[in-house]
């Protein structure tokens, strides 16, 4: 019968329409500004810089190695190295960025900067309500605007942050153990051999030390 197919289709539409009153599965629209979906843990939007501790400038993990600047596909990262070094999380002296700009109007949210960073200094933010009437000033984020505390990182990407924190803690513990071992070795060595300082490489030195 002509029109049978159309009627069959209409029945389907009616089922969907009436179903939207009874089943949540058929009523899928999220009324955005009032309702929001929970953010996904893997979600990414634009990068930010992670810092440890209370001071953003002192705690910045970035060491200005410029790998992300080189690998960034649209080249939206601009870094100037500061010649003055500062200690990092294990106390080692590292370079720091004098200027670190990301042009978020160019950024394509690909996460490659995050992947190539050997220092876990740059991570992806999930903030998406970033509209601004100012095309150039507001979208070009400088070092201060990019810096966010590690606590924020833990909040938005808990699994990832826990991994990074564990790795950092292990590294720090290793460094501390090494430093302690070194100090102990020094402490152990220093009372035993204070005399042969000018000639430490001489073979009979221990015997000499014993003799004295």
């Amino acid at each position: 019968m002509l029109g049978e197919g159309i009627i069959k289709g209409m029945a389907e539409t009616a089922r969907n329409f009436l179903g939207s009153y009874t089943s949540d599965e058929r009523l899928t629209t999220v009324q955005y500004p009032e309702e929001r979906l929970a953010p996904k843990e893997a979600a990414r939007n634009f990068p930010f810089l992670v810092y440890d501790g209370p001071d953003w400038e002192k705690g910045l993990r970035c060491v200005a190695c410029q790998i992300c600047e080189k690998e960034c596909p649209p080249k939206c990262i601009y870094i100037v190295k500061d010649p003055a070094k500062k200690p990092d999380y294990v106390g080692k002296l590292q370079f720091q960025p004098k200027v670190f700009d990301i042009d978020t109007s160019v950024c394509m949210s690909c996460q490659i900067c995050v992947e190539v960073c050997p220092f876990d200094a740059i991570k992806m933010d999930i903030e998406y309500e970033l509209s601004t009437p100012d095309r150039f000033g507001e979208l070009l984020l400088n070092k201060q605007a990019l810096s966010k505390p590690n606590e924020y990182y833990r909040k938005i990407h808990p699994t990832e942050a826990a991994e990074v924190d564990a790795r950092f803690a292990a590294e720090k513990a290793k460094m501390e153990a090494k430093a302690k071992a070194e100090a102990e070795a020094k402490a152990a060595a220093s009372p035993r051999a204070p005399a042969p300082k000018p000639e430490p490489r001489q073979a009979p030195a221990p015997e000499l030390a014993k003799a004295t």
Binding site: G5, E12, T28, A42, R44, P73, E115
Partner: protein, 392 residues
């Protein structure tokens, strides 16, 4: 011509409707119309220079390049890894299959081995991509025919579930940038497989619904059957691939021909069309989705544990040895290939994309000749183009 001009009689006013002379003797003045690039039915910034005889197409010239972004040259001046997010933007509906094709080419070039688990994840994501691409294409095709909204919204409702899966896996809904040379970027998050299984299990119900809504619809049949017929021979000669070629009855599926990845482990059938018209292209895609669901069920069941990326693959300072490679996959739109030449530097010496929708578009004229303008829109919709891929 004279018998239709019954202007005086008000009872017969309907005869004023334009009628094309069946004998072809009467020729009016030809009219040249530029359809696009802002025409809403052209799926992006695409223009067709159409020469019309009345309402019938006598000549059609596709004009593209409005969305040209210099992708290939940019890739030649960037590192191999830096090109990966650009491939997302080729066919922005199917970023994961684009990633796979590019990764496959680089893996051939650098001789990397993809771990088992990564291969399974690639198959799963690629088939999910195929599902959402074909589902939304069904919606768009109906939108082109004037079924404004309903089928497209039903398709997008399903697509949304798949995009949610992509987001929780890769972090982005469309620009996934997920695959890496020698594997994938990150492992599946907790609970992802279960979620994917639920979405896959619910998908056939959507297909049943979609088919009940459309398949027997008389208007759909009238608009698609016998429209835009493409013979298997012409399709083969023109290099057409994908569902368009299979709708013309040519059995050519790169998943079967090349058996790239681990596709030889899954049993699935290749649906073939008989007439090569728009209806067959629509039906082939519907049937392909059903086969994809089968592949997905098997793949989701068998995902093994293990590493996600080849330990030999380097993220920083990646330099494949000099040589050339061509990696191709069965993307939802057809054969997507990447041709690379390496000269041992961090950038490819030559980087070329063989996009399916660009090649499939070249025989648009052959399909459209003799049809009315409204059919041209439908035929173009059935080619399944994405301008990001056509223009690159």
């Amino acid at each position: 011509m004279s018998e239709t001009t019954q202007i005086d009689s008000p009872q017969r006013h309907f005869e004023l409707l334009p009628q094309t002379p069946s004998t072809g003797e009467v020729r009016g003045e030809l009219l040249e119309v530029s359809m696009g690039p802002q025409h809403p039915s052209t799926h992006g910034v695409f223009r067709m220079d159409v020469v019309l005889d009345g309402e019938r197409v006598t000549k059609l010239k596709p004009v593209f390049g409005y969305l040209h972004r210099n992708h290939e040259k940019i890739a030649e001046s960037a590192t191999y890894l830096s090109s990966m997010p650009y491939t997302d933007r080729l066919d922005y509906f199917c970023s994961l299959t684009n990633n796979w094709a590019y990764a496959l080419a680089v893996e051939k070039l650098a001789g990397l081995q993809v771990p088992e688990r990564a291969e399974y994840i690639r198959v799963i994501t690629a088939e999910l991509t195929r599902l959402q691409n074909h589902a939304s294409l069904g919606g768009f095709l109906l939108q082109d025919m004037g079924a404004s909204g309903t089928p497209l919204m039903y398709a997008f409702r399903e697509r949304e579930k798949i995009l949610d899966l992509f987001e929780s896996l890769t972090g982005a809904r469309m620009m996934c940038n997920y695959m890496r040379f020698g594997g994938c970027r990150c492992d599946l998050p907790a609970g992802w497989l279960e979620q994917a299984k639920r979405v896959t299990a619910a998908f056939p119900r959507f297909l049943d619904e979609f088919e009940a809504l459309l398949n027997d619809n008389e208007i759909l049949m009238a608009r698609t059957q016998g429209i835009g017929v493409l013979s298997g021979e012409l399709a083969t000669n023109a290099g057409v691939t994908g569902p368009m070629l299979r709708a013309s009855g040519v059995n050519y599926d790169i998943r079967k021909v090349d058996k790239y990845g681990i596709y030889d482990r899954f049993s699935f059938r290749v649906p073939l069309g008989e007439h090569g018209d728009v209806y067959d292209r629509y039906m082939v895609r519907i049937l392909e989705m059903r086969e994809s669901v089968k592949i997905l069920e098997a793949a989701l069941r068998d995902v093994p544990g293990g590493a996600i990326v080849d330990p030999k693959a380097k993220l920083r300072g990646f330099r494949p040895k000099p040589g050339e490679a061509y990696g191709r996959i069965e993307a939802p739109k057809g054969e997507l290939g990447f041709y690379l030449i390496s000269d041992g530097t961090p950038n490819p010496y030559r980087y070329h994309v063989r996009p399916p929708s660009f090649v499939n578009l070249t025989i648009l004229e052959d399909m459209c000749l003799g049809h009315v303008v409204a059919d041209v829109v439908v035929i173009l919709g059935s080619v399944d183009i994405v301008m990001g891929e056509v223009d690159r």
